[in-house]
């Protein structure tokens, strides 16, 4: 929505302290466009919304929100749709297969122009890295990235941090382990990015060698003075960890299926592995999960991922309300 600032990422302003931008009218492309203060404001808002219970607010009556899911994702789409509707907005949407017929050979730019004409805000998910940023440069109205490519899923990161804050009362000073596909997994990468806005005590990056965090990610951690270590085995570090963020390792990432079978077992979280964990350890997962967490764990006090999923709606409601600049 801001072609004028296309050359200067919003974060530069915030870091340099020139302007306090707030949320109104803003695009949400990367979690790194936000400051700690922004996120704390968002969390306070989400907390207020959460306490209201499941009421329908009418603050966005007359607004239309477009959900453009070029790549399917039932959970994220339903969460945005619920958030929009509970604020009183109307929703237009397409997803997955339908996206192909919407686009029908048309480029992303033209589809975005159409949606921009119909709606007041566009939520986009796309397979290409940078698709959301490009869409935001084209659209007059705000654009929210609901996941593009391998790096950015800013609203998921907001929900993840909100969950940590609710569980521990703080995001600072905790030891984190981010487990799984740190190379291609956008939720994991966004979560790591988000941690750099705070002061974690330590961050373990736990992955098989093939799926290590990208150079850009490591560079950012270094620049921001975050203490971290890349490790292969969760068992080596688990006794030290407060928050474990688990993501799925996909078979398709491995050129050799045997290689996948070999690593698969060692990244599955079981009660056995957790027997070495602190009592206060909590497990987050962006969901859906397949078999990376043993179902036994679901019933244990370690599992915080269902709670985390439930926070999706209040956090996205708070974000939408702030972008539209409405008081709740």
């Amino acid at each position: 929505m801001c072609p004028l600032t296309a050359y200067i990422p919003v974060s530069h302003y915030v870091v340099m302290g020139f302007v306090k931008l707030g949320f109104k009218g803003r695009d949400v492309i990367s979690i790194l466009d936000f400051s700690r203060e922004d996120l704390e404001e968002l969390f306070a808002y989400a907390d207020r919304i959460e306490k209201m219970g499941r009421v329908k607010l009418r603050v966005l009556e007359g607004k239309i929100i477009a959900l453009a899911f070029f790549e399917p994702s039932t959970r994220t789409r339903l969460s945005f749709e619920t958030a929009a509707k509970r604020l009183g907005a109307d929703v237009i949407s397409f997803s997955g297969e339908e996206a192909i017929s919407v686009a029908k050979g048309e480029n992303l730019a033209d589809t975005i122009r159409m949606l921009d004409n119909y709606s007041d805000l566009i939520v986009i998910r796309h397979r290409y890295e940078g698709a959301a940023k490009f869409a935001a440069e084209i659209a007059k109205n705000p654009v929210i990235n609901a996941g593009d490519g391998k790096q950015h899923h800013p609203t998921q990161a907001m929900i993840d941090l909100y969950t940590v804050k609710k569980l521990y009362g703080t995001i600072d000073g905790l030891t984190y382990a981010v487990v799984g596909d740190l190379r291609y997994g956008r939720a994991a990468t966004s979560f790591i990015y988000a941690l750099t806005l705070f002061k974690p005590k330590f961050v373990y990056l736990v992955s098989p060698p093939l799926l290590r965090a990208r150079p850009e990610t490591l560079k950012l951690l270094q620049e921001r003075g975050i203490r971290f270590k890349e490790v292969e085995n969760i068992g080596d570090v688990i006794s030290d960890v407060d928050v474990m963020y688990v993501t799925r390792i996909q078979k398709e990432r491995f050129p050799d299926p045997l290689e996948y079978e070999k690593v698969k077992g060692s990244y599955k979280i079981t009660m056995d592995i957790l027997s070495h964990a602190k009592k206060e350890l909590r497990i987050l997962h962006p969901l859906p999960k397949v078999d990376e967490i043993d179902p036994e764990v679901d019933k244990s006090p370690y599992a915080a991922y269902f709670l985390q999923a439930a926070y999706g709606v209040p956090v996205r409601m708070a974000l939408l309300a702030l972008i539209f600049g409405v008081e709740i």
Partner: protein, 163 residues
């Protein structure tokens, strides 16, 4: 032929690109889109001694004036280069090349699933210079890093040959 003979041979009108890192002269010509079939008189001097660089390349082009875009493109692969514009045997202007903070439209992103590589999308690849020495660029859309040694492979119009 001695080194000094190579470096001082005079151009009447044209451009001397000096202080090219040794071995990159042919890349410089490629960036300029010069194949040698245009009929321009060109001298390529490679691996000669340089006080500044140890060894360097020099390219002399008779009659060719460099545009701003071409100059910044040179900076991407030959950041130490100096440009001398020659008129009637005299140096009429002399300047260093510098990679601009924003490099737009010259390089392709190495990431195949970057939006700038999506077919038929009206998006111009854009890189941000995040380090001068060593030179590191970052794709403004997908965040992919491009280091100095890789840059020559992603010059637009040439990348398709090497990928």
């Amino acid at each position: 032929m001695s080194t000094s003979t190579l470096s001082v041979s005079k151009l009447r009108n044209g451009t001397v690109i000096d202080h090219i890192p040794a071995g990159r002269a042919l890349d410089v010509l490629r960036v300029l889109g010069i194949t040698g079939k245009e009929g321009l008189r060109i001298a390529i001097i490679m691996n000669v001694e340089s006080k500044k660089l140890g060894k360097k390349d020099i390219v002399k082009i008779e009659g060719k004036k460099l545009s701003r875009e071409e100059v910044s493109a040179i900076a991407l692969i030959a950041p130490t280069a100096t440009i001398n514009i020659i008129s009637e045997f005299n140096v009429v202007s002399k300047f260093r090349v510098e990679v601009p903070e924003i490099v737009e439209g010259i390089l392709l992103c190495p990431n195949p699933t970057c939006i700038t590589n999506k077919h038929q999308e009206p998006v111009v690849p854009r890189f941000r210079r995040i380090s001068k020495n060593p030179l590191i660029l970052q794709c403004d859309y997908c965040g992919t890093l491009l280091s100095e040694s890789d840059i020559a492979n992603y010059i637009r119009g040439r990348a398709h040959e090497t990928r």
